[in-house]
Amino acid sequence: MSTAAVPARGSGGVPLYDSANRGSRVLEEARALWSYRALVYELVIRDIKVRYKRSVLGVFWTMLAPLLNMVALTLVFSSILKQQIRNYPVYFMTGSILWTYFAQSTSSAASQTQDSNELAKRIYIPRSVFVASSIGVGLVNLVLSIVPLLAILVATGFPLYATWYFLPVAVFMVTLFAAGVGFFLFTFASRFTDIREMYLVLVQTWFFLTPIVYHPSIVPAKFRLALWANPMYYLVRTFREPIYDGMLPSSRLIAASLALSLAVFFAGWVYFCHRAEEFAFRT
């Protein structure tokens, strides 16, 4: 075998793949994800289009679902259980649409694993695009569900506070957290097929452990720890307070939420980068 000189980098912008010179996986995956951002966009579009093709109401389902949910829960929680919460529809919907964003994007990351590994075993795609697109679809749905929320504000004569400007920050923090959880789930689901089912049950329980349909003040003192240990408790508050209470979250709450989200995001990312490929080939 001749030993022709091999350039370390492709000359003149020619892409170069060298299996011996892959560098840090964490950085490599980040670069690859960036260069495949068009694919993330296409996958989000595909998901949304496919979901609403051949349906009469189309995209209105996304807006109708939180409304129907809200009506049902308002009936149960404020009329039957006589909970004392001012404007329950707004209280519930602020928590519920944020929760739906988190739950939808993480479960979709766990569900996509099999299909996307089939694809990634045949052509080169950075696997993180699948988690990113799950988040992207959830984000589109979150933005769409702002419409029914506004409708409820108007219908119940609830004020539209100036503190809404904080919402992008709150959504950003939830996105980091959801992505971190999504990376873990995607990686586990590459190894074990029953992760998805287990997570769907878990996420249902988690929903009721988070003050969305009820007020945190009704949680008995001995269960307070379960509240404090729940990242979604803080994240729901950072989203709910600007809409429902008309105030910005306290700096302590923001700091805690941000620290948690960043920690989970980076842990998930690093774990994903090191294990996702390996797990996919363990058939």
Partner: protein
């Protein structure tokens, strides 16, 4: 000249569990009983190959000889277990036609999706759309969902996208076995123009005449090793003769382990 593809003592081993353990529940049970056993399957065994820019190389061999693993290695889908793989240039894999297509989406939407799967931006794909549709002869159908397409139409669309993106290296895996004769002719035509443009083409095929006619060089794989590497007529003939009476392929005729780089065209 810098090779377009260079494999240095590359091996690919797959770890195959004796029993498929797909769920966490089963895994936990096995783990407790300490019964986990793996078989190692050597898909490629210590392969060294150099392919120069502009070469057209046919890969022949029985099923399970390592042909597809070789393409996946070059397409950076499978990492080598040992050795080193270096690829210079943009790769267009044509591994399975129709992979990643979605039946509910229209032809046009699928072209954009396929382009993105190959790593291209939306703007770039939109500029190429007309030419892709024209080559695939799907002008009248491009806004219909592709679940309404025939197999041949789907194949034309996928081939058109994969070859329009202007790769430096084209990997073709049995892709030409679908579609009618006219489509196959068009595909071969396009590969020919690739070759004239100095691009590297790697073709995996069981159709030996196709390899002989379209490739200058051929490599015969058997059980993860290179048996013969050289002029495509010689290699395909040797493979054909061996196929009629399979025995130890190494025993058939003198092996050419390190074929001298073939003259370029």
């Amino acid at each position: 000249m810098t090779p377009a593809i260079r494999l240095e003592e590359v091996s690919v081993r797959y770890k195959v569990p004796r029993e498929r353990i797909g769920s966490l529940k089963e895994y936990a049970i096995r783990r407790v009983r300490r019964r986990m056993s793996f078989d190692e399957f050597e898909a490629l065994d210590d392969i060294s190959i150099e392919i120069l820019p502009g070469e057209t190389v046919g890969i022949v061999g029985r099923n399970g000889a390592g042909k597809s693993t070789l393409l996946k290695l070059i397409a950076r889908v499978v990492p080598p277990t040992a050795g080193r793989v270096i690829v210079v240039g943009r790769i267009a894999p044509l591994l399975e036609l129709g992979l990643g297509l979605h039946g509910e989406l229209t032809g046009r939407e699928n072209v954009l999706l396929q382009g993105a799967l190959l790593g291209f931006s939306r703007a770039k794909m939109k500029r190429r759309l007309d030419r892709i549709v024209e080559w695939a002869e799907l002008e009248g159908f491009i806004d219909a969902p592709i679940r309404t397409y025939s197999t041949g139409m789907t194949a034309r669309l996928a081939f058109s996208v994969a070859t329009d993106v202007d790769p430096d290296i084209l990997l073709v895996d049995e892709a030409l076995s679908v579609g009618d004769e006219r489509f196959q002719m068009k595909c071969l035509d396009r590969m020919e123009s690739f070759r004239r443009a100095g691009k590297t083409v790697i073709l995996v095929s069981h159709a030996l005449p196709q390899v002989r006619d379209n490739c200058r060089r051929a490599i015969w794989f058997h059980e993860g090793r290179v048996v013969r590497d050289g002029d495509s007529a010689t290699v395909t003939n040797a493979y054909h003769e061996w196929s009629l009476q399979p025995g130890d392929p190494e025993a058939t005729e003198p092996v050419v382990p390190d074929a001298a780089p073939l003259p370029r065209f």
